[in-house]
């Protein structure tokens, strides 16, 4: 897993953060998934309404939670979205949201596959 998608999900480091507890790591992934969906809906609405303060805040939180779970790509996209909000750039914000949605879907698919076939971390 780590060797194939190190930027998407740095599993060994994430596992280390949970003290080696894989079950707990998956619990965090579930929390992240549900939190992401909620925040993504808020972001979509904020981009439409050009509510840059809200975009900035939600992007900042997603940046933190992505970093905690070692989701490098989503962390970086969140950072760029935060910066787009600071520049008050709706075009960039919209484009970044699309990318985030895509990478989030990839991450979920990946987790789903890994859970069904074997334990995560086994590449």
């Amino acid at each position: 897993m780590n060797t194939i998608y190190p930027r998407m999900f740095d599993y060994p480091v994430a596992l280390e953060r949970t003290g080696g507890d894989e079950e707990f790591l998956f619990r965090l992934v579930d929390i992240y998934r549900s939190d992401f969906k909620k925040r993504f809906a808020l972001l979509t609405s904020a981009v439409e309404n050009k509510d840059f303060e809200c975009i900035h805040h939600q992007a900042h939180t997603l940046k933190g939670s992505s970093a905690n779970l070692c989701l490098g790509t989503l962390q970086e996209l969140s950072l760029r979205l935060e910066e787009a909000a600071e520049r008050r750039d709706p075009v960039a914000a919209r484009a970044l949201l699309k990318k985030m949605a895509l990478h989030f879907r990839r991450f979920l698919d990946y987790c789903h596959r890994e859970r069904e076939t074997s334990s995560p971390g086994v590449a």
């Binding site: 965090l28 805040h57 933190g64 970093a67």
Partner: protein, 323 residues
């Protein structure tokens, strides 16, 4: 158990910190914003807080400053979590009242080490508070009788007198002296004398209401403060104490002794406020009268007593004497 509150709008982060804190035997609470955190702080005695810097509504810095403004006896140790790692940000966080900070994403071992520092500080602070409390108790109590000492009963008198003035209520004060106490000491020794004083203190406390205050005023003198007591009640209380002490003998190692007391009472008139010093002077006059009139009695001060003193009259003012 030390109580820890995590405040962060990121659910992943809250769950992660909660996990590490639980492994260190903290009782963990969590809130997703500053408002919810303040509610928890009102209900629970939180010892350590882990605050995220950037939160909607109220930032961690603002929350930190608000917590520091609250007056509590117990110290709250605050760790600020931030992805900001510039010196000026760290200084701003510490200036707002944080004790420590951790940068995000955090290292598990570092977080645990810093939480343990917080635990150590809180434990030390609790020990300090406990020692301070014990010292305070020692400072305000008489070592022998465990009643309030002179300083504390006089402070209490001032406090209750001010309260009585505010509420326009009467305040009763009784000064009490053990009759012929020197003879007890001379005949039975000071140890017996001390045990007599301890027993007198015990019997007095048993007689008084929970909100009445009594203290050792001098060697064998005691001062009693009776909130909301008019002249009749003050006299009744004095009588009960006199009977409880003089009514049954005191058992000592060698013998059983009969001990009597003389009491001088005074009651404030809500319409005419007077000073604590004047109250003490008047109760002393009444006590002096009890002594002069044969001891083992209660005398309550009256204005006539003052007038007679000035003119040299010899009227009786005592209210009881059953010798």
């Amino acid at each position: 158990m030390i109580k820890l509150l995590i405040v962060d709008d990121d659910a992943v982060f809250r769950t992660l910190v909660e996990r590490h804190a639980c492994s260190l035997d903290f009782a963990v609470y969590s809130a997703e914003n500053g408002r919810a955190a303040l509610d928890i702080l009102q209900e629970k005695k939180i010892n350590i807080l882990v605050l995220d810097w950037m939160m909607p509504g109220m930032t961690g810095i603002e929350l930190c400053a608000r917590i520091r403004k609250q007056k509590t006896n117990e110290y709250r140790y605050i760790i600020l979590l931030t992805s900001r790692n510039q010196t000026r940000d760290i200084v701003e966080g510490l200036t707002a009242g944080a004790d420590d900070y951790i940068t995000k994403p955090f290292n598990q071992k570092e977080l645990q080490a810093r939480l343990n520092i917080g635990k150590r500080i809180i434990t030390l602070q609790q020990q300090l508070m406990s020692a301070k409390q014990k010292l305070h108790q020692i400072a305000i109590h008489d070592n022998l009788t465990r009643l309030f000492n002179r300083g504390e009963i006089l402070r209490n008198l001032e406090e209750k007198l001010n309260q009585a003035k505010r509420e326009r209520q009467p305040l009763g004060v009784i000064l009490l002296d053990v009759d012929h106490f020197k003879q007890v000491n001379d005949r039975y020794g000071h140890q017996t004398g001390d045990s007599v004083l301890v027993e007198i203190a015990r019997r007095m406390q048993k007689t008084l209401r929970p909100y009445d205050k009594v203290g050792r005023y001098g060697g064998e003198e005691f001062l009693i403060v009776l909130p909301n007591c008019d002249r009749v009640t003050t006299c009744e209380v004095g009588e009960r104490i006199r009977k409880n002490i003089g009514g049954s003998r005191f058992k000592t190692r060698e013998d059983s002794i009969r001990v009597t007391i003389s009491l001088g009472g005074v009651v404030t008139d809500p319409a005419r406020p007077i000073s604590a010093q004047e109250l003490l002077h008047r109760s002393d006059m009444a006590l002096y009268r009890s002594k002069n009139d044969g001891r083992n009695r209660v005398t309550v001060y009256s204005q006539a007593m003052q007038n007679r003193k000035k003119t040299g009259g010899t009227h009786e003012y005592h209210l009881s004497a059953d010798v």
